[in-house]
């Protein structure tokens, strides 16, 4: 039963710098269902990136356990079952967009021979088309706008075909208009493939717009304050996004954060 879920159990992380210690995460417990869109929402320094990196196996926890559909992060990573979408697009400047998007097929080929490997790469041309990049397959990253590069990075994540996608503020470097349209694109593609997504953001609006559940985190020490259900209909059309219910949810999430943080922003 546990193997169809992501379970975070009593996770904590302490960074030691000389004599001083930073408690980046304290007693983090949560369960995410397969196919859910989860956002980690909270102010700077509350440990969102730390938590995401621990889930990805890029960082190790000080205490506690993680199960990603029955695997440890290291095992899941070895199976190429984790797709990582960083803040900058991190595309390789010397590869065409199509080859960039196919990165997962060029590396760690051993993963595809491991028995029980269920990951299957998606068709890059289809994913690129869905993200509006059909005409830029042969282009180099430098020839694309920032928003297009970020879409390519998301395409790379989907093409990997991993059941879990981790995204750390992938839109934070974009302007507001670009961000708006790229969020909708992301939702479209996600509806189609239904990966489990853990998405980090500073924005209550973005969190509510994208997620099934919003994990509200507070800093010093970093911890989960509460998890808010976003029971708004999908697909999240413009209509939904302009509804009273949506606005109320955004206000609710902001309110919960302020209450937990004990600070007026």
């Amino acid at each position: 039963m546990q193997s169809s879920r992501i379970v975070l159990h009593k996770l904590s992380k302490t960074y030691k710098r000389g004599d001083s210690e930073v408690r980046a995460l304290v007693d983090v417990n949560a369960t995410f269902e397969e196919g859910e869109f989860i956002t980690l929402f909270g102010p700077s320094g509350c440990g969102k990136t730390t938590l995401l990196r621990i889930i990805a196996g890029l960082e190790s926890q000080s205490e506690g356990d993680i199960s990603l559909f029955g695997n440890s992060p290291a095992q899941a990573s070895r199976l190429k079952n984790i797709a990582w979408v960083p803040q900058s697009s991190a595309l390789l400047p010397w590869l065409s967009i199509r080859n960039n998007v196919l990165l997962s097929e060029f590396v760690n080929k051993r993963a595809d021979r491991i028995v029980g490997s269920t990951r299957k790469a998606e068709d890059p041309d289809e994913v690129l088309a869905d993200l509006g990049l059909a005409d830029f397959k042969a282009a180099l990253p430098a020839q694309l706008s920032g928003g297009m590069r970020q879409r390519a990075a998301i395409a790379r994540g989907f093409v990997q075909g991993a059941p879990l996608m981790l995204m750390d503020e992938p839109f934070s470097a974009l302007d507001e208009l670009t961000r708006d349209s790229i969020r909708l694109r992301l939702l479209d593609v996600w509806e189609k493939h239904r990966k489990t997504v853990v998405f980090v953001t500073h924005s209550a609006f973005e969190a509510v717009m994208l997620s099934d559940r919003v994990v509200v985190m507070t800093p010093r020490p970093g911890r989960i304050h509460s998890i808010v259900d976003i029971n708004l209909p999908r697909p999240r059309t413009r209509e939904v996004l302009e509804s009273r219910e949506f606005e109320e949810k955004v206000r609710e999430v902001k309110h919960i954060l302020r209450e937990g943080w004990g600070q007026d922003e």
């Binding site: 984790i82 990582w84 390789l92 400047p93 010397w94 180099l140």
Partner: protein, 249 residues
Amino acid sequence: MTNLFTKSNILRLLAPLIVFGLLYLGWQWVALNLKSILPPFGNITAEFLDRPGFYFSNLWVTVQAALIGFAIGGISAIVLAILMVYFDFLRAAIIPVALLLNVTPIVAISPALIVAFGFNAIPHIIVAGLAAFFPMLINAMSGLRAVEKETLDVFNAMSANRTEIFFRLRLPGSLPYLFSGAKLSITAAMVGSVVSEFMGTSKGIGATIVMATTFLNLNQMWVAIFLSAVTSLVLIGVVSLVEKALIRW
């Protein structure tokens, strides 16, 4: 076609031309008034046209030593830089040695090399190689380490192995640095080769310059100097062409 004559293009061509013109006039003035310092350009050109074979055969000796030295010095620098990226011990061990090598006037080792290896091409190749080594090492090291952390995260999240990270990320990413290094290295190798020929040999552009000094042949001296400078420029140009062909991003 039309944009060939934009203001900035004209400026880019004209500005250096003016400076060269002024230098030329200054040179000719000195040559006419202080004969023992500089020969007039016409004489230098005449000297070269009189026996181009002599100059080219000597130049070839120098270039050969420079190129072999550049190849050996450059390649060993790259190999060492690669090892230093992966083995902290090597990095800690080699950096002080490389710095020491860099502050040592390599040309001053020349006599010792001649004593050790005799009157042949080897001492000159070694000087050229040592001169080429350091700029390449520094650039290769920066290039191989200049990997964006976020890109590395993408690779690590899918458990890419070291070989893949090297060939798919570090090496292509370091190419621009390797070419900057190569341009510095090839010039350094050329200078090393010329200067090392001041001693222990009668062949090469360096030896030609020394010979000219003994016979107070200013024309010969300046032909040799200009030839080695032009050759360095050509070598840098060749490296740039390869760079343009290889780096298209």
